[in-house]
Amino acid sequence: MELIVELEAVRKVYDSALTPALDGVSLEIAAGESVAVMGPSGSGKSTLLNLVAGLDRATAGRVRVAGEELGHLNETRRARLRRHSVGLIFQFFNLIDNLTALENVAVAAELGGSTRADSIRNAKDLLERLGLSEQLKSFPARLSGGQRQRVAVARALVNDPPLLLADEPTGALDTYSGEQVLDLLRDLNRAGRTLILITHDPSLARTCTSRQIQLNDGRVAVDSIAATVAVR
């Protein structure tokens, strides 16, 4: 079994905080898995995602993603890892307001090393596949929430990363748009990509992922795989 994410006794304490955001978290996620990380506000879900994405550094412990020990990588190498191995999807889309839908996706491809022409072509293909062929030249402000999130998904996929990290991807969407995005993520997981879904909604976690991890106060409270193994 190939592991794509490994966390070993990870601890994260923010400068201003009295208590750790993550405290001794150990996890292994295999390539192709779909995992939901759940928990109430302040449980450490987003901190976990930031550490796996290399957006933040652990205070202690080891984080390994796609075979790379993140603690050993400088900022530049972390950025390169994100370009090729990690696709990020956020609750509030995080599209660049001054770029069109097409440019938002293409710029990620260019950062990934593609030529301008290839980037535009790939971005256009992806957006068309996601039903946004009419919105290629629209700025984010002109798009609906669902459309924005699909642009964000296209951007996450444009460099064909093996790992997708989605932080409350339906949190800012209406029910219909949210269902569409979840269907998309499920399809991508079925196609072989690893999916880590951050959510506070247990039912969404159960319907979308095969494994659910519950965080409480920065610790793993429940890991459904471990629970299943334990029952067996």
């Binding site: 987003s46 957006l55 090729h84 995080n94 660049i96 069109t100 990620a108 260019e110 700025f139 402000a141």
Partner: protein, 789 residues
């Protein structure tokens, strides 16, 4: 009001970076404005200011002690029209020998100079208070205080010794002080009792006569601005003395005329610099203030929602800007005064003035007033606009996707064939076009100033070099017409180190358009090498040809190539004007040509000067000393120094460099502010880009490229602007100074490489200003902005 103050102070405390930026920019701007205004004030009638400060003498008279008694001379201090006086001060004219001393390179070589030595009890007498630059006053008869001009010219400092060589025993004196007098009559001062021992004994018909005694009195008179009134006082003074008692007299009006001319030369570039400094300060402060107000709109919405009135909202914004501006002014004014001081002192020295007087109150008041007006002007309109904005739309600023500001321009820029960091950086300019333009103007002013400063400095070096001609002529020899012994030209030829030389004599000629005769210099031998810069035409190369300065051409209406008849004492000669030269000798009314022509027109003229070019590596001072010893007492050889020509330019160069640095600093601070505000506004965008794989170096590149592009565009405009300023100011300075035109070569001091380099200076200034905030942006944690709504 309390709520407004509480909120404003809280904002100032919370936003340390913003407050720091306003403080920094204000401090630099106030520093530049203080410097600029101080120099401008100083350049306004500096001689009058210095004269008042020194309580200078309106009339200085020298009396022959063999014709009038000390008591008779003392009685002149009560003459009609005299309001105050010091003297009689014993004075003598003696030959001082300066010998190369400690710390100086090369072989020992002595130089002699005739100097006025005045007996004076101290620097602070009632009239003509001296400025003691170094050391102390003489307290024994073996000590001397030198004038600053003599000390500089002879490279002498406190602790050195000089000898009075035409006095029995050639007494040595120790230099204990360097001082300056507004009257500039004395070259050195000693204790009054020491003067008699330093006075040469005059040889008369083989008999030794008693030492020649002279007395000097410095008068202040009632109606000092009227030349006739001064002349009347002068007559009243001499009228009460035996005939022939007055040896010489100097009116302050003559000295003032000369000093005011030097000051007038400096005014064009000081005005230009002051205007640039104030303009740059205004732009940068406006940019900072407007940026802060724009960036604070969301806070305004929140304030309004909790009950602040529009006026209170506006007041909070203005107050939070005014607090750091006030602190910046309080720090900037003393800093500006401190930085100005060396320049002001140099101004005084370059003008030949002993002390400096600056109306500080006027300067400080003007600077504070200007800064307040700029700050209020820049902050009030955005504050009023912000106050009128509805709370909902104010709060909405910064939340959710913003409308695509400058979308069309961004779309065009995003098609540029550049890598994403560069493309995104350049495209960011379109999001805040006004801010980009304001930063661009600050950089433009900075670069234009640098171009102007570099250009003018190089031009002034050429002017100084051309005036002193020390690159071409290293030793100048003057000889008495009745000198006996072997020909001096033979002596010069055989003196080791001589490369080439030319003999020179001076006659007189009357030319059409000038009523009185003017000097006509003739050269015996090849003289094309002696270094006069050509404005137009060429140097003469045959008898019958002459060259002349611009002033002569303007006064006579002569053109290059035109022939005219020069006359003198019944003789006449047909001459052709073949060249216009850059020449500052003799009020710029003179001719230079062949010695054969001069001697034919004015048979009384004699060769009395030699200009010598030395072989490379020859010590000019040692050479002059050798030649002087070999030539005997009627030969005076001196190394040509660029000091006198460059002294006035040193100040200009110092001020140019100082102000150029400050203005470049202000421009960089303006860019710094723009980038800080820009990266703060683009915090989320930068976080997104980092999240999708932009690495820190690419973030730095993106941020820097946004302002480097501004810097480049600004520099492309600024370089020609700086060159135009350089051209105009140099032309004005030359016209004011000496009614001369300037050789084309003095303008063309910046070649394509230097101009390209100066264009890069715009990018460098912008990059310097952007570097730190770009690093901050690259290092900032991205998780928080990504998770914010």
């Amino acid at each position: 009001m309390t709520a407004v103050l509480t909120k404003a102070v809280a904002d100032v405390r919370r936003r340390r970076l913003q407050t720091g930026v306003i403080f920094l920019v204000t401090t630099l701007s106030v520093l530049a404005a203080t410097m600029a205004l101080s120099l401008l004030v100083e350049s306004n009638a500096p001689y009058d200011h210095a004269f008042n400060q020194a309580h200078g003498p309106h009339l200085v008279m020298i009396f022959d002690g063999t014709r009038a008694t000390e008591a008779q001379i003392a009685a002149t201090t009560r003459a009609t029209g005299v309001t105050e006086a010091i003297g009689p001060l014993p004075t003598t004219n003696a030959q001082i020998e300066f010998t190369r001393q400690r710390g100086q390179k090369g072989p020992a070589a002595a130089l002699r100079i005739n100097a006025n030595i005045v007996g004076r009890a101290g620097p602070d007498l009632a009239v003509d208070r001296l400025t003691l630059y170094a050391g102390r006053w003489a307290t024994t008869s073996s000590e001397v205080v030198l004038s600053d001009l003599l000390a500089k010219g002879m490279d002498t400092s406190v602790g050195d010794t000089i000898r009075i060589i035409d006095v029995a025993g050639s007494p040595s004196l120790t230099v204990v002080g360097i001082a300056a007098s507004i009257s500039r009559v004395a070259d050195a001062w000693v204790m009054p009792a020491a003067v008699s021992s330093l006075t040469p004994v005059v040889q008369k018909s083989g008999r030794v006569a008693p030492p020649q005694t002279r007395w000097m009195v410095e008068y202040r008179v009632a109606d000092a601005n009227d030349a006739n009134a001064i002349a009347t006082v002068s007559r009243a003074i001499s009228g009460g003395l035996p005939s022939g008692s007055v040896v010489g007299s100097i009116s302050w009006l003559d000295s003032r005329k000369s000093a005011d001319l030097t000051a007038a030369v400096m005014v064009p570039f000081l005005v230009a610099f002051s205007a640039l400094g104030l303009l740059a300060a205004a732009f940068v402060i406006s940019n900072v203030v407007a940026g802060v107000v724009i960036a604070d709109r969301r806070q305004m919405g929140i304030m309004k929602s909790i009950g602040f009135t529009p006026a209170q909202v506006g007041s909070v914004l203005v107050a939070q800007v005014l607090i750091p501006v006030a602190i910046g002014s309080v720090v900037g004014i003393p800093l500006g005064t401190l930085v100005s001081e060396p320049f002001l002192n140099e101004t005084a020295q370059a003008l030949g003035l002993p002390t400096v007087f600056t109306d500080a109150t006027l300067v400080y008041g003007s600077v504070v007033g200007l800064v307040l007006v700029i700050t209020l002007a820049a902050s009030i309109w955005p504050s009023i606009k912000a106050g009128r904005m509805s709370a909902v739309s104010a709060i909405a600023v910064g939340t959710g996707p913003s409308s695509s500001r400058g979308a069309g321009t961004i779309a065009r820029l995003s098609r540029l064939p550049l890598r994403p960091p560069l493309r995104l950086g350049v495209a960011a300019l379109a999001a805040r076009p006004v801010r980009a333009v304001m930063s661009g103007v600050a950089v433009l002013i900075g670069v234009a100033t640098v171009v102007f400063a570099v250009g003018l400095t190089l031009s002034l070096h050429m002017v100084a070099s051309s005036l002193s001609r020390d690159q071409q002529v290293q030793v100048d020899v003057q000889t008495a017409p009745d000198r006996s012994g072997p020909p001096l030209s033979a002596l010069i030829s055989t003196t080791p180190g001589t490369s080439r030389f030319v003999a020179e004599g001076r006659g007189q000629a009357t030319v059409p358009g000038i009523p009185s005769p003017i000097p006509y210099y003739g050269y015996d031998g090849s003289s094309a090498w002696i270094g006069y810069a050509m404005i137009s035409g060429r140097w003469f190369d045959a008898p019958g040809e002459v060259v002349a300065p611009s002033h002569l051409l303007d006064v006579t209406g002569l053109k290059i190539g035109q022939s005219f008849t020069a006359t003198f004492g019944g003789e006449s000669e047909q001459l052709t004007l073949v060249g216009e030269i850059f020449d500052q000798t003799n009020d710029d009314l003179l001719l230079r040509g062949s010695w054969s022509d001069v001697s034919r027109l004015d048979p009384t003229a004699t060769i009395d000067e030699y200009e010598i070019q030395l072989r490379p590596g020859t010590d000019a001072r040692a050479y002059a000393s050798t030649l002087q010893s070999a030539g005997g007492p009627s030969v005076s050889a001196r190394p040509v120094s660029s000091f006198s020509a460059e002294a006035a330019f040193l100040l200009i160069e110092g001020v140019l460099s100082g102000l150029a640095l400050v203005l470049a600093g202000i421009a960089a601070a303006g860019v710094f502010n723009t980038v800080v505000l820009g990266t703060r506004e683009r915090r989320r965008e930068i976080a997104i880009l980092k999240a999708i794989g932009m690495d820190p170096s690419q973030v730095v590149l993106m941020v820097v490229s946004s302002v480097a592009a501004i810097g480049f565009v600004a520099a492309v405009v600024a370089v020609p602007l700086g060159l135009v300023m350089h051209h105009q100011i140099l032309t004005s300075m030359a016209e004011i100074a000496t009614n001369t035109r300037v050789p084309a070569s003095f303008y063309s001091v910046l070649g394509p490489t230097q101009l390209a380099g100066l264009t890069i200076a715009g990018v460098a200034i912008a990059t310097a200003g952007a570097w730190l905030p770009a690093q901050w942006a690259a290092a900032e944690r991205v998780s928080a902005p990504l998770q914010a709504e």
